[in-house]
Each structure stands twice: as structure tokens, then as C-alpha cells.
């Protein structure tokens, strides 16, 4: 052993404070859900007040529950995968967990698009959302993204790209629950893009400011 490594070990072990163990990803996922979901729904309702009547109609539709179930499952599985990916020693294939629900979610969106084109015609159909959609996307998506970054604060983010992508999916899906309830048109693409930018920005900012929010340099 070289002297410097010896010295380092002595320094690291001197005055060793006890640490609070990081909770199980499932426990932390539940905490995230319990805080982020109500806040996202509340902010979404405030921004989309004029469409609240739509929410009442939606909950009488069976298709709404199918979509809701898949989005909810995507949020759960992606959230669990995000938190697991930031804890060393857990399965490295955990990212596969949300793949199936996400694919089903995408296929449901595709099917909705086809139905809409049938109804209004391809000339009227546009993938570009109305500017008012952005405020709804931000209202429902920002809190879940911010809280996810705070949840990752105590973790050990060793594979940043993995964690960002999974976190993007988890926060997008959670935000999509509110959007699905209140917002008239599907804005999933904008939501995914917005959440990706938010996660990258927040984690980047956290790294720039200090190690406070993200323990990337573990």
C-alpha cells in the first residue's frame, strides 16, 4: 500500500460520523408520489380551470381509466427505476422495468391520434400544441421534476444519463396524470421534452452550485 493511500484511509476513518441509511427505493417512491401527485394535480387544476368540467366527463369514460392506468404504471415503474438507478448495488437492468408500460402508453397515444385524424381529417390535425398547452405542461410537470431531483440529492448518481432519462419518464408520466384529467388535447411530446430539459437543467444547476442537491461526485 502506498503511503498516500494509507494516509487517505486514516483521514477517512478519523472522527467517523454515523450516517442515516438511504431508504428502500419503494419507500422513497411512495413519498415522492404522495407529495408530487397532489401538488401536480392542484397546480394543473389552477391553470386549467376552464377545463375542469372536462375532468368530470372524463371519469365517466372507460377509456380514460385504461389510459390513466397505463400512465400511472409508467410513472410508478419509471420512478422506481430512477431511484434504484441512483443506489449502487441494485440491478443494473432496472431501466427495463418501465419500457413495457411506456410502449403501451405510446401506442395508446398513437391510437388516439389516428381516431382524431378520422374525426377531423388529416388537414386539420397538427402535432404542434397550442401555446396555452405549455402553461399546463409546466404547471403539472415542474413540481414532480423538482421533487425528483431533491429525492436524488442523497443518492449516488453514478450513471447520470440513465438516471436523467428514467427521471424524465417518471416525472413526465406523473405530470401526464393531471394533464390527462384536465387538458383537452394530448401534449405528451411537449411534456416529455419539457421534463427532459427540466431534469437536465436542475441536475446541471445542482452540480454547478454545489454537491448539495446531487451527490453525483460521490
Amino acid at each position: 500500500m502506498t503511503t498516500t493511500t494509507d494516509d487517505l484511509i486514516s483521514q477517512l476513518t478519523r472522527n467517523l460520523p454515523p450516517v442515516t441509511r438511504l431508504g428502500h427505493p419503494l419507500k422513497r417512491l411512495l413519498k415522492w408520489f404522495m407529495v408530487a401527485l397532489p401538488l401536480s394535480l392542484l397546480l394543473g387544476a389552477l391553470v386549467d380551470q376552464q377545463h375542469l368540467s372536462m375532468a368530470r366527463k372524463s371519469v365517466q369514460d372507460l377509456r380514460f381509466f385504461v389510459d390513466f392506468g397505463i400512465i400511472f404504471t409508467t410513472a410508478l415503474t419509471a420512478g422506481y427505476a430512477t431511484l434504484s438507478s441512483a443506489q449502487p448495488g441494485r440491478s443494473q437492468y432496472i431501466w427495463l422495468l418501465p419500457v413495457l408500460p411506456f410502449l403501451i402508453w405510446l401506442s395508446l397515444i398513437g391510437e388516439s391520434c389516428i381516431q382524431l385524424i378520422d374525426q377531423i381529417g388529416s388537414t386539420q390535425f397538427s402535432l404542434i400544441p397550442h401555446w396555452s398547452c405549455y402553461s399546463s405542461v409546466i404547471a403539472t410537470g415542474f413540481v414532480p421534476a423538482l421533487l425528483m431531483v431533491v429525492m436524488l440529492k442523497r443518492s449516488a448518481v453514478l450513471r447520470l444519463s440513465h438516471t436523467i432519462l428514467l427521471g424524465t419518464l417518471a416525472t413526465s408520466a406523473l405530470g401526464a396524470i393531471g394533464l390527462h384529467l384536465y387538458h383537452p388535447s394530448d401534449v405528451t411530446a411537449v411534456l416529455l421534452l419539457w421534463q427532459f430539459i427540466t431534469m437536465v437543467m436542475l441536475l446541471g444547476l445542482a452540480r454547478l452550485i454545489s454537491n448539495y442537491m446531487s451527490n453525483r461526485r460521490v
Partner: protein, 193 residues
């Protein structure tokens, strides 16, 4: 109790603040960490730097260890990711850095004309040796290896133990100092005549 179980138990105690057990753990995992790092980093000096980075990471993320999980994979992923981070940094630096024996001068001003400078500095070897005495050790070593022994930067780096970057800086500073010294000396000689 096998090694893995022992490490797991030691880490659990270390999470509670047991200094002696933690020291025992870090010393005990060192060969495993070195083996993981040296699989990718062949240079022993650099490998030891990475090993220390890994130990720091283990220390900072010790709260993330769950006693219900095996200790080996927890340690392995930290060591591997830190090694990959290090290699990425090395490759990024290598992409940006170009090894040159001399800095190309790109300005027209006389003060930057190194060919004339070098003639001025190296034409009188006797005087150069006297002037070199006034240089700091690192700069003197750089001039001796690069200009008098005509070694390349890589060779000089191996001989001296200095990095290529510090050799370049030392050489640049030495030339500047020698130029000033030689110019002053020539001026005095001219005044005498």
C-alpha cells in the same frame, strides 16, 4: 462467514460510526478495488490515483449501502464507474491536447520571435551555463533535457518525472528568463566596446 458477509457486516457497523471497523473494511477491500481499477488503467501511478478516488466515493456514499444487498456489487459498481469517469477525463484531455516540442509563434512582434531568441540564448553556451545557474531547478532541468540533450517532450517527461504540461511551462518561462539575461549581458558587452 465469507469475505462478502464480513464486509457487509463491517459496512453496517461503519454506518453507525465504528472507526476501527471502517478502517479494517477499507484496508480489506483495497486489493479488490485495485484489481477493478487496474483492469482498465494500466499506469500504476494513475491507477493508484483512481483507487483513492474510489475510496473517497465509497466514503461519501456509504449511506447508500443497504445491508440486505450484497456488498460486492455495491463496491464493484462504484469502483467501475469512477474508473470509467477517469478514463473519460483522460480521453477528453487527449482529444484537446496536441504534443508539440516547441510552441509555434504566431505574432509578428519581435518579442515573440523565438528563432532569434533561441539564437540569442543558445549561441554562447558558456554564458548560457552561467545564466542557467540563476534559473529555478525545474526550469533548469527543462532547458537541459529539451535543448541541451535534445530530448523530446515525452522522453524528457520520463527522465525528469515532470508532466509534459509542466515541462512546456518550465521551458517557456526559462526561455523568457534566459532571453532577458542574455539581452542584458549583450548590452553590457556592447557598452564596454
Amino acid at each position: 462467514m465469507n469475505k462478502e458477509e464480513k464486509w457487509s457486516e463491517w459496512m453496517t457497523l461503519a454506518q453507525g460510526g465504528d472507526e476501527a471497523v471502517y478502517q479494517q473494511l477499507l484496508i480489506s477491500v483495497l486489493p479488490r478495488v485495485r484489481a477493478i481499477v487496474r483492469r482498465r488503467v494500466k499506469d500504476p501511478d494513475h491507477a493508484e490515483d483512481v483507487v483513492q478516488e474510489v475510496l473517497l466515493s465509497v466514503h461519501k456514499s456509504r449511506h447508500t449501502y443497504d445491508p440486505n444487498l450484497k456488498f460486492g456489487p455495491w463496491l464493484h459498481i462504484i469502483a467501475e464507474r469512477r474508473t470509467i469517469d477517469y478514463l473519460r477525463k483522460v480521453y477528453r484531455l487527449a482529444e484537446r491536447e496536441v504534443l508539440v516540442d516547441e510552441y509555434p509563434e504566431t505574432f509578428l512582434a519581435n518579442g515573440t520571435n523565438t528563432v532569434e531568441d533561441e539564437i540569442l540564448v543558445f549561441e554562447d553556451l558558456g554564458r548560457l551555463k552561467v545564466a542557467m545557474e540563476h534559473l529555478p531547478l525545474g526550469q533548469r532541468e527543462a532547458v537541459k533535457l529539451l535543448k541541451l540533450n535534445m530530448l523530446s517532450l515525452k522522453e524528457a517527461s520520463k527522465v525528469s518525472g515532470m508532466t509534459v504540461a509542466s515541462l512546456k511551462i518550465s521551458m517557456h518561462r526559462a526561455l523568457k528568463a534566459l532571453r532577458a539575461e542574455m539581452t542584458m549581458h549583450n548590452k553590457h558587452e556592447g557598452d564596454k566596446i
